[in-house]
Subunit: 233 residues, 8 copies
Amino acid sequence: MNAEFATEKHEKTARLETASIDLARAGRCGFPEVVYAEGKTTETVVAIFEEQLAHGIAPYATRVRPETLEVLTHHFPDGIPNPTARTFRFLPKNPQPTCGKVAIVTAGTSDLPVAEEARETVLWMNVEAVMIHDVGVAGPHRLMERVGDFSGCAAAVVIAGMEGALPSVVGGYVDFPVIAVPTSVGYGANFGGLSALLGMLNSCASNVAVVNIDAGFKGGYLAGMIATQHKNS
Amino acid sequence: MNAEFATEKHEKTARLETASIDLARAGRCGFPEVVYAEGKTTETVVAIFEEQLAHGIAPYATRVRPETLEVLTHHFPDGIPNPTARTFRFLPKNPQPTCGKVAIVTAGTSDLPVAEEARETVLWMNVEAVMIHDVGVAGPHRLMERVGDFSGCAAAVVIAGMEGALPSVVGGYVDFPVIAVPTSVGYGANFGGLSALLGMLNSCASNVAVVNIDAGFKGGYLAGMIATQHKNS
Amino acid sequence: MNAEFATEKHEKTARLETASIDLARAGRCGFPEVVYAEGKTTETVVAIFEEQLAHGIAPYATRVRPETLEVLTHHFPDGIPNPTARTFRFLPKNPQPTCGKVAIVTAGTSDLPVAEEARETVLWMNVEAVMIHDVGVAGPHRLMERVGDFSGCAAAVVIAGMEGALPSVVGGYVDFPVIAVPTSVGYGANFGGLSALLGMLNSCASNVAVVNIDAGFKGGYLAGMIATQHKNS
Amino acid sequence: MNAEFATEKHEKTARLETASIDLARAGRCGFPEVVYAEGKTTETVVAIFEEQLAHGIAPYATRVRPETLEVLTHHFPDGIPNPTARTFRFLPKNPQPTCGKVAIVTAGTSDLPVAEEARETVLWMNVEAVMIHDVGVAGPHRLMERVGDFSGCAAAVVIAGMEGALPSVVGGYVDFPVIAVPTSVGYGANFGGLSALLGMLNSCASNVAVVNIDAGFKGGYLAGMIATQHKNS
Amino acid sequence: MNAEFATEKHEKTARLETASIDLARAGRCGFPEVVYAEGKTTETVVAIFEEQLAHGIAPYATRVRPETLEVLTHHFPDGIPNPTARTFRFLPKNPQPTCGKVAIVTAGTSDLPVAEEARETVLWMNVEAVMIHDVGVAGPHRLMERVGDFSGCAAAVVIAGMEGALPSVVGGYVDFPVIAVPTSVGYGANFGGLSALLGMLNSCASNVAVVNIDAGFKGGYLAGMIATQHKNS
Amino acid sequence: MNAEFATEKHEKTARLETASIDLARAGRCGFPEVVYAEGKTTETVVAIFEEQLAHGIAPYATRVRPETLEVLTHHFPDGIPNPTARTFRFLPKNPQPTCGKVAIVTAGTSDLPVAEEARETVLWMNVEAVMIHDVGVAGPHRLMERVGDFSGCAAAVVIAGMEGALPSVVGGYVDFPVIAVPTSVGYGANFGGLSALLGMLNSCASNVAVVNIDAGFKGGYLAGMIATQHKNS
Amino acid sequence: MNAEFATEKHEKTARLETASIDLARAGRCGFPEVVYAEGKTTETVVAIFEEQLAHGIAPYATRVRPETLEVLTHHFPDGIPNPTARTFRFLPKNPQPTCGKVAIVTAGTSDLPVAEEARETVLWMNVEAVMIHDVGVAGPHRLMERVGDFSGCAAAVVIAGMEGALPSVVGGYVDFPVIAVPTSVGYGANFGGLSALLGMLNSCASNVAVVNIDAGFKGGYLAGMIATQHKNS
Amino acid sequence: MNAEFATEKHEKTARLETASIDLARAGRCGFPEVVYAEGKTTETVVAIFEEQLAHGIAPYATRVRPETLEVLTHHFPDGIPNPTARTFRFLPKNPQPTCGKVAIVTAGTSDLPVAEEARETVLWMNVEAVMIHDVGVAGPHRLMERVGDFSGCAAAVVIAGMEGALPSVVGGYVDFPVIAVPTSVGYGANFGGLSALLGMLNSCASNVAVVNIDAGFKGGYLAGMIATQHKNS
């Protein structure tokens, strides 16, 4: 278990007025509960952060609205906002060594916000991120020029919209798991990301697993978890 | 108009008991009506063939059941059966020069029957076919080893199931149209070819058009038509 | 390969801050990379254009927002904006002869923006466009009155929403490929263009291939490519 | 109300062991209840027929299995079996004049079984049927050659699979309602008739209404009802 | 053919700048072309109306935006606007007798705009409309109280959202065709009208045909056409 | 808790070779675990039954294949097989009073197997079942004739395919919950029960809840549970 | 029948200008008609409320717009508004004893509005509600800590978005019916609540029935009806 | 790179008559190409195996038909067949140490074939598998009794049909990645595994990634790859 995220196991739940915080998550799952800020008021996010900080937890929130992000930035000067990713995170206190880096690969520039959410997640987990942008399959030499950058990586997050072909191609070049993130980028028969999602699920590459559409956080989280597997040995 | 397919324009329709044959198709569309044998009895197919031959048309049938194919083979010794493709075709009488060959590319060995249907169609149209098999994206060097084979081609038919990524990759290597044929090969979330179909429709390569699932005939027909465009100049 | 689009093959990728430009596209694919402006800032589009112009490439952008279009119009007085099509293009420097015109056909007046995007694409490729508007199948004589306009064409782009029947009917009249573009025009059970898309994929006409919903660019690009096939002979 | 179908209004339901027969249907709806034989045993169909005949009703059953059809043919020598349509019907006793014929139109020969079911239904209702076969849109002159056959019709049943475009084209030629019947004929992205169904629902012709996939009975029933509307004047 | 809609048959198409008007529609189909105003400018609608009036046609437009409706109301004082229905129509000049009225039935008050569009269409066709509102199946006695109102009707337009059960129930009470119009009223798993559409297509009542979601115009048009069938006798 | 189903709470799981039996289910949930026999061998079902009987549990299995049913019938002479329902059940030892009967209502005779599964489930729970068959909405008087049979019922299971309208209509007549079971009965656009499922989920009646397609067991189980609610007072 | 909701049975329908009120609903169904305010004007809601109050009915409206809610609050000082639930209700006059409470359980804080709608419904029916918030399955101990709160409940409403797993887990702990309400909370492949809906319909727990997406009202209504079943004994 | 799978890098592709074998896969991706036997003849599988063995590769085939499995078993006595999994594998020659075991968890007994395919894959990769069967969420204590078995695991493959809730619950208990495999087990609205697939993609647990329906191989492959990550450190 990563020491910097530890909390007392016997205190399992903190009840706020509108939420109940799972304080035991890091003990069970390796990392603390992440705040999904989508349907929460700014006040609620602040309250959860303070409760987590009081228990020695380094908070992290995703899908933060711009106005909430601004309040958090002023209220918690130690925190790190990322407006493109729509995230706010704190630095872990006792960084641990990891067993590898995480490559974050995009097919096009429109996939950037999802890639940034993945990157922030990986950084919050103490893992180094290698960014490889705009290497979609229609210009095949672009990916080949970057294959060397996969060296030292333990996992890749591959982000693509439209036909979602990039994870299959990356999967054919590497010897570690690829977490594929379909995006809703595209139009017409992409049906909000369905085309990329189905493409990735049917990937002919054996080392490709898939997460939800636009789920940069989950892609980064799984890759980061793989890159910290040494803790089990 | 291809001379070998010509018929008298003023006779437009031949009425059989159970079908009406469009005799003017070659005049209007460049090639005669092709017989879709799926729901037809052997007797009907034989009758249509004889009617077409009587009007100087070289017949061609697709989706022929094995028992019908056997009858046709005995009845029309000049015809060419292909059990894998489930087709039966006649040679055109006055072969014309064309402006290029057609490449027929498959992602895996399971796509073979669809590829054979495309090939028979192209041959019936007097166009040379170049077969490139089993070059799916998970082994990227396999396609690169064959890129030279595209030389002299005017169009490609690219056939793939699963995520249907191969047409996008081929599209990035060539300067002619790619007709993508999704196949129902795969399982689970490929939903009978839907995953490959959506992937191909959302291809990030500009030169990829799509036909129906498992439609080897239509893929070959369009590519063959492109390879005979000189007739318009 | 069209000479006016040529660039040095040994310089393959230009890396901007937020994008990597495929400079070798025209060498491989016959035409340079087209800028899909949807998710890009005005600054990015300007930077890409300048990089392309510096390499002797005639740029072309689609899905350009009105405010970006205005900036481009002022910044590049040689370029040609089309607000209906939402495109911005430059004239190729050494126009080449082609083997035919491209017919662009619409079912109704609501399909106009998609048709304009197809037309701009065809013009950028140095190909002549023949516009045939508002000839949907419910008034069958309207198309018949225009059949003569198909003379001298090498391909047609047929654009329709609702039931998407027009490409099948056009396909029955012509001896060249029909690229069908389904549009999201309609309501209720057209499900954002799905009805037209499925109709076109299941066309009983052999010479109909399909591209994505509202994909006027891709429809024009494929038709234009067919009309410039002489370069392979 | 059609006299030949009348029954006593005060007897409304006949309870058999496994079914309850709506004896009042003809009084309320103009025609008696039709037996949908799909999930019923031969004994049940025979029992219902005898009950209906005892009340002076001319029975009619659809979706009859071959073995049941054989039994019915022997048991009721006055009845008329149609193996292609999978129907069994009795002649009405007092034929009434109608206000028009019904045209039954098919796109291809594979639509024949559905067309036969429509025809049997129309005949059971005492209405004359005009059959127009194999006039799909890819050979447009074939329909034009038959337009004269619509003369004297009060409604048309138009049956098509694949893209389902034929009802729109017929709708543009006639001044009476078109009942469109999508069929599951086709393959791949026709998704069991969905493509034809959606195409017909989105028809740009104002006079096209749609019934269920392969629903020849319902198509014929509605057309027959329109052709007997004089009874309301 | 309804005399009041007649035009000269030899003038078939009027070409405006942005539309081509089918002047021969009434001769072929019984009623003139109806203007679908959705994607058209106010100027275009005015121009089409003037062209139609000049040829003795009584114009009718649906899906008219409020601002266009206001202009039409001032410009054509003889026309009749209906803001709820979003329609604008002219009175036919020589009203003809019809063979019956049309019942327009709604399941709930939210279906009113669709019902009004159906009513305006029926009135434009010279047919009398009987309105029966808010008789959804959860209060079964409400429909039974109104059954007498169906007397003298030749067809019904039945409009419902949610589960779309009302047409089946109405179908069981009447001896004329029911045109079912699914609406997008509802939420959640109604999926924009899909639940009502599928329900109506699968109706167990034999006399129910279906049109597109929210297609009040088409529902009214078909019912009106049935109510004017006497012209064929 | 129903006494006849009780077992010792401290023994929670019985591990067989290929299954683990939840012995504590009756203590937690009121009734013991029911055996879903679909993917299980006859031997496994026998072994589970013997284990359950040894713990004083009255077993019940659904989706039993014919050959398994025959073995069970010989092996357990006290058990009650129902081949139509494909179930096998034992009588509870100490029947308890309940607070009401359960009505089981079908739209057509094809819904019988699902209705029988519901009935067997209700009987296994010691609850009386009232069967009301073949009262679909197209013959509305048929249901009205049976409304009196709802007297004394605490819940209804309403089973229908096609448009699935019957639960809404029943819901409008009764003052207790309706559990709606969609069936896959029908063809074409019923899409394997989807039309009935969506119809029932969108029911305008407030007292209608839905279970899975063809889920006679679950419909009966929920209705039976409601009819034994007195145990909580 | 609950006495406080009673009305005279012989007055069955009140006709307002734009709606017809089912006054007999409480007599037939146990509770009066609930006003679905979505498509209704404020004036209509006020008029219906006054008509219901005049007949001794305690009104209740759901899906009330904020501006309508404000008017109702001023106009009917005895009524109880709930802006989160978007409801407005009156107290029943003669509260009756019930046979149990209703548990309302949410997976996350974003499900709150749906839960509040369920709670208001239950309260309007005179039933006590037990709220159990934010106990989604990723923190399994959170639900276990609250299991004791189910004591004395007759039914549960379980509300969840995303994968909709919570009802299955709750179903495994309780001996009463669970009414599952899928919500549209989530993103990407939840497709507006479809993922939760399908998950709940396929629940492996026998005591889980499902209502429409976001249908807090219907969930509460069914649970409340179960909790008042004693009236049938 | 795992030494036992090594081959010479400069020989990249072996061309058989009907397939091209990617000999460089283990060098690039850590493990050799796995033979997907679905569409291949027995002869082809034997030929590929012999080619792979000749290059020092330990072959592994999935989706092997029973008759092919029998031939392989006789032909390759060193290989290990698994009829339930439909796989055939060889032992790696130089087993390497790994960093953890893989837990394979099923919701019900029907998920066994998929679990066996995952297990064979994991064993072929030299990784130890821990089987935890039949712990679906409706009996929550069953999983809790087995939580200790996760000790020493580096990843879990969690296999479930129906609502697919089990991966979310497992995800909440463990500190390593969960690879979720949806199965087509279930009926009705599970739509061939779609319900489980969507449920897993929308999992509220952060550490859950998903593969294709019934894709036991891919689930095992990804988990096995995670368990051998030490090779990168």
